[in-house]
Amino acid sequence: MAVPVYLDLIILTVMNVLLSFIAFGLPRRTHGVRVERGEYDRLPTGFAARTAIIVIVSVVFGLLLILGETPFLYQFLIDFVLVGLLASASRLRDIDSPRRTASVLVVLFLLTGVGAGAYYGVYSQVNNSIYFNSLLTFAPGSALFANSTLPVGKLPLVSEDYANSIASSHLSDFGGSVQLVDNEQIVHDNQPY
């Protein structure tokens, strides 16, 4: 499933708005007006203003994740946990709302984060191994090259450093302002290059 960049941002933003509603409840007029024991709600109370801030922050955060080339599934998880935690934590500061609900939400989002991190960060290597094992076929070592004649003349004997060195000594053909950015060994027309 291809997720183009605009769809990516839209999904993240919509999710963030919904998450903030779940955490805060729907915005109320009276919200954040009372100030007691030095605590107050820093978020603007109006529906439009709060949504606007969440949209802007979501897009900026999404763009940062995109510039970091994070796969969408991970973006989604990171954003879900982060926004959930932020929204629930700021609800803890809101003296109007029941603290227990907010605490439960914080714990839930924390657990989600830890769980997702453990599953995708650590346990995925087992799933990866099973996936790779399903792609593999097995053969005895003596069978290596048994069905393929590999002439000795086709063995690659040029190392990356050597290739870079040769290339750099001929860069003047391209004029100034050049830079060697990358090298890659390829096999072309049955010869290694």
Binding site: Y162, N164, I186
Partner: protein, 357 residues
Amino acid sequence: MNGSYYEAKSANTVGPGLFLFSEINLHSFLGDTSIVIGNHYPTPPTTNFASIYYVFTQSQVRLDGVTAFNGGTIYSADGSIVAQYDGLNSPSYVNQPWDKFLVANLASQWGSTRAGNGTFSLFAGGFFTIPASQSRLALSSDEELIPYKNGTALMLFMSPANAANSLGGVILAYKGQFTYYNMEGLNLVSPDYAKATVQSKLPALSNGQLFAANPVIYPTQNEFIWIVPYYYDSGTGIVQFQGIAVMDASNAGNLVIQPNQGSIEQTRDLALAGLLAGNTGNQTQVTKVNGAVQAFVTYVQSGNTYASIELNGTYYYATANSLPFSQWVQALQLKPGETVQLQVQGTEIVNLAIPPQ
């Protein structure tokens, strides 16, 4: 292969090292943010290097956490997409349909979590009461890309965990096929060991250094050998080819170091000739010859004794190096009229047996 080079001036608008949206990784990622960035490399779609395409491989994280191969995109010089492929069904001129870093990554995880044949565990390395698995493998730092069948194969070398000097197996990735060759019984040394052995024989220089790189495994008639080129590095970005070392993969002491003889090919052939005593690669087959000795003569050339036997009208020779000691002594005592069974490579005798009368 031999250090000759092609130049192709191709003003690619998408490629590595370019600014922001022209940078190939970000360029491809913006089109589909669900992908995991893979390897990318230039490739000429035709034999004459007239144009250069850029192949960008990608993979995708599945819901179960597996990073799976997911095709790739091929860009032409003007940045337009020539072709896109799914999975590993690439056009024929694409060398590596998979992301080679992902192959290495998967191989590494596959090796490190291997708790047995086909079973995998996070705790394959042992944990409290769980014993460490004997099947764990670790990836060697060297890889090899070779022409294989009608395409390209990537070879990854694996050693048993904590035994990096020996070769446990080879993973050969060829298009959509991944094969694991189990080398455990063959008693071969790992590429790292081959490299280090060659490195240890190279002299230290007062300026710059000689270093061994890129070991390549190659099967001869009876055994695997490592071919290890070595280079001079000036420390200022100048690297020059210095020579080739060839070693028996099952016997690291059997090593020939051949300094540069003008070209890489020539040096390689001389080194191989040195190791295999004149028989390079699979050009010569071992054949069996039986018959009665028609003529027998020994002579000395360049200080080596040769025993020459005429059998069925053809002359064969043996030296002290070509035969095991006891067979060599038998060979020296041959008389015309005796019946012998020979195994010969070209005209060189590699095995000699005298059947009981």
